[in-house]
Amino acid sequence: VNDTVATDEIARYAAAVRAAFADLPGGDREGLLEDLEDHLREVLSETGGPLEERLGPPDAYADELRSSAGLPPRSAAPPGSPGLRLAWHVLQRSGRAVRDLLVELRPAWWVARGYLLVLLVNALFARLLPSSGPVRFPLPAVFGSQALGLLTVAAAVAASVALGRRRATSAVGRRLRRVGNLAVAAFAIALLLDLGRNYTPSSSLLVPEVRPQTVAPGSTVLPGTTTQPRVSSLPPTTQARTSSTVVVSTTTLGSTATTLAPATSEAHGTTTPTSTR
């Protein structure tokens, strides 16, 4: 082994171990570190290979040394009153738990990101080109086809996951990715807020899919016109309960009608149902 390379490696490893003992009182620390460099030199001269191969990472080495020496495990508790220390400890633990959870949830975010991106593009199209039709939710339609929408979502999810699994190689790439993630996340929040507003016509980006059994395909419906007869045809016992759902669906239909064709209802008020989209 080259001498300077060996010295560098020993210094690097020893520094990492020393850092892991930063919380120990001076006497304990000195005792543990006393033989460290000698030990590392012995190992290197015997194995020749990297120190990690035989000793594991410096952190693990430090923990093993510490526990076998009968010293308490590493802690980053700051000095202060016991209550403060406990609070700090709890805060630190929960912070670590949240961070670990977020790391574990990363793949789920990649999947959601792909889906949200398709939805985002769809919503933009619906806003800029009202003639392209409403945004379908939860399954967006591409060129009016939900089958195509499904394929697009699958492709976007696959691409997003593939991108997530690759590490950004440059600082620019990392920044771009962060900005993109933030944009998609902001859109997701806007989407949730929009959903929370019960599809009010004024701000609605999204329109729930119109079910064929409530509305005949292709027909323009005014709020409350088709639903009324259905209610009266129901048996009296269920009527009270269902009427509330009908109200909801009526308002939904109302927003559907207004967002479906905000321009056409005025411009082509008399066109036949089949000619409207």
Partner: protein, 111 residues
């Protein structure tokens, strides 16, 4: 069976036995434990154990200057260490006897 778990419990006795045989410095003790058949013993565990036995007053140490390398810190057993070794060896023997009897009884019943 995971020997690293077993080693944790008996490393003290093993280290005491090696040092009682002949004074040794840290890496020398590691090497001799390995040669004795405890291949899974971790370097850091041995160094930590030596440190703890020394801090607990069971070992004494002295530095030996060496020509080619750094000065080495040798450990040797003192009276307290020797007493601990005798005590630990007794515990170990009765423990292994019990375990052996248990395994033998079990082995007799097995097909």
């Amino acid at each position: 069976m995971d020997t690293t778990q077993l080693l944790k419990g008996v490393l003290d006795v093993a280290v005491l036995a090696v040092v009682s045989e002949r004074d040794g410095y840290g890496y020398d003790v590691v090497r001799r434990l390995r040669a004795a058949g405890l291949e899974d013993v971790g370097d850091a565990s041995v160094y930590g154990t030596l440190r703890r036995l020394y801090a607990g007053g069971h070992l004494t140490s002295y530095v030996v200057p060496s020509e080619e390398g750094p000065h080495r810190k040798y450990y040797s057993l003192n009276d307290a260490g020797r007493a601990l070794l005798v005590e630990s060896a007794k515990t170990w023997r009765s423990f292994t006897e019990a375990m052996n009897a248990l395994l033998q009884a079990d082995g007799g019943e097995a097909p």
